[in-house]
């Protein structure tokens, strides 16, 4: 048996037309307590919700098709690959690991993510990275409005354009956009792209497998004017 054939044989295939979603997720959750297959292929997701949600194991899950809400939510350590589009709340509150979507993602991708890397090769919709708290997000295409709203820490990289109100009420996350930005949200400003930023951007793009020149990006972040209440500014809040 060749190495490739051995690996193929080790892959557990779950068809959601014949198994229930609950069975799939339970089996993935069981990996936390007892060893099991590390390679998984999920067939016919057909837009199902919460596919491969809540994994806490060194598993590799490949999903063949489009998924609905909350795919790979709360992901810890696992690698989840979606060969299709993802619905709202992709990789919501991700802790660690890698989630990669080959198509587009709907709104709130990576919302409140704590860590790990989320790669969306197509476009992401509105509110991508909302309230992100340490996750890194790389979007190959463009993003919708209100991305990185109230972002606290982590990095958001957008290779295309960003719609209105980027980084509204941002705390300390770093945002990199290669294309145009329709508008910056409250307290979000453009910042200098220094050598350390070029380095971190190059590393992120390499990890995401995206071919783009770091120098083509612009950096945005917090002006830190909303941290404290200034009574003199009461009229503008």
């Amino acid at each position: 048996m060749t190495a490739v054939a051995a690996r193929e044989a080790a892959v557990e295939v779950v068809d959601l037309e014949s198994s229930t979603l609950r069975e799939l997720n339970q089996r993935l959750h069981d990996l936390t307590r007892e060893p099991g297959p590390t390679g998984w292929r999920v067939l016919n997701p057909n837009g199902a919700h919460a596919v491969a949600c809540g994994i806490d194991a060194e598993a590799e899950v490949e999903i063949e098709g489009h998924v609905g809400y909350y795919c790979a939510g709360m992901n810890k350590r696992a690698t989840v690959l979606v060969r299709g589009n993802a619905g709202p709340g992709l990789a919501e509150n991700m802790i660690s690991g890698l989630v990669l979507v080959q198509g587009n993602a709907s709104q709130s991708a990576g919302a409140s993510g704590r860590g790990g890397l989320l790669v969306i090769q197509g476009d992401a919709s509105s509110r991508c990275g909302i309230s992100m708290k340490g996750i890194d997000i790389v979007v190959g295409g463009s993003v919708g409005h209100m991305c990185a709203f109230m972002a606290q820490t982590g990095r958001l990289v957008v290779c295309g354009d960003a719609l209105d109100a980027l980084g509204d009420s941002i705390y300390e996350a770093r945002l990199y956009v290669r294309g145009s930005v329709a508008g910056l949200g409250a307290d979000c400003v453009e910042k200098e792209l220094r050598p350390e930023h070029l380095d971190e951007l190059a590393a992120l793009l390499a990890r995401a497998g995206v071919a783009a020149a770091p120098a083509d990006f612009r950096r945005y972040g917090s002006a830190r004017q909303l941290y404290n209440f200034h009574v003199d500014h009461a009229g503008s809040y």
Binding site: N46, Y69, G87, Q107, S126
Partner: protein, 302 residues
């Protein structure tokens, strides 16, 4: 929550099985809206000079043949209502407005669900899967259709409060979301002579569109007016005699997915609703932009 679906046939195959596809799409949206369900289906145009109405009766033993005789007495011809569960469709040789006025005056126990030449609206409380069976949606052919599954938030679960809402001749509206300025807007529209049957927020949006269209706005203009005049969350799908239109509010919290193949154009609250269509895997798919009006009509698509 609520689920909405729309399907526009570009080929004869889809035309012939429109009801089957619509039923499958609605079934997929059952858990987004378990309270009630409804569809607007565009089919079998009434002959020129005639109009087609869908009527609802709360009486399960309604004598629809007797209604046909009454309509014959009022308008001539030989109107024969075709019953479908609690509803019936009837073609009358008269203007739709005149028939509607007659129903209101002479048969106030019936409700006019739709009026025009091609539209038929069916809606009822209860689970969408039950609805699909009870109304035998599978057997309906047509050119295009909209559907809705309701999770009630703003008003009571009744047949009248179910979607689609008629917005004028051959026009209807389905809505996912909730409006916050509907009370004041309802009062304003009442002063303009728009009639409301319920306390439902979507009926106000339907009334708003009907009013704007009556005042001469195009469908696009009327929908663009929603962006300024409606406050709240919405993904709207509007059905017309020739096609349908989609609009999301500028905040765009409510989901929507569009997809197109050589055989059909479809919209749904989620991909699940579209995944049941033939050739869906290879369809071009995208999420409609906030605040942008999308329109498909026969002439534009052909």
């Amino acid at each position: 929550m609520c689920g909405i679906v729309g399907l526009f046939a570009k080929s004869r195959d889809i035309d012939e099985r429109l009801g089957v596809h619509l039923a499958a799409m609605l079934g997929q949206m059952s858990d987004r809206g378990p309270d009630s369900a409804g569809v607007a289906i565009y089919r079998d145009p009434a002959p020129s000079g005639s109009s087609k109405l869908t009527l609802h009766s709360a009486d399960p033993r309604e004598d629809w043949a007797a209604l046909g005789a009454e309509l014959e007495g009022a308008f001539g011809g030989s109107p024969e209502p075709t019953r479908r569960a609690s509803h019936a469709v009837v073609v009358v040789e008269a203007e739709a407005a005149d028939v509607e006025a007659w129903v209101r005056a002479d048969r106030p126990d019936l409700r006019v669900m739709s009026a025009g030449r091609v539209i038929e609206i069916y809606k009822e409380t209860g689970s969408p899967r039950e609805f699909v069976r009870e109304f035998a949606l599978d057997e309906l052919r047509g050119t295009h259709a909209l559907g809705h599954t309701r999770m009630a938030t703003e008003s009571r679960v009744t047949t009248e409060g179910s979607h689609p809402f008629s917005t004028g001749l051959d026009l209807c509206l389905v809505h996912n979301g909730s409006l916050s300025n509907h009370n004041r807007l309802r009062e304003r529209l009442r002063r303009e002579g728009v009639d409301f049957q319920t306390e439902n927020d979507t009926e106000v949006a339907a009334g708003y569109l009907a009013w704007r269209l009556r005042e001469g706005a195009s469908l696009e203009e009327a929908l663009e007016g929603c962006l300024a005049d409606l406050d709240g969350f919405y993904t709207f799908a509007v059905g017309t005699a020739d096609g349908f239109a989609v609009l999301r509010d500028p905040i765009a919290c409510k989901p929507a997915v569009l997809a197109e193949t050589d055989d059909w154009v479809a919209m749904g609250s989620e991909w699940r609703a579209l995944a049941v269509l033939p050739g869906a895997a290879d369809a071009e798919k995208w999420e409609p932009q906030p605040g942008v009006v999308y329109v498909w009509e026969k002439a534009a698509v052909a």
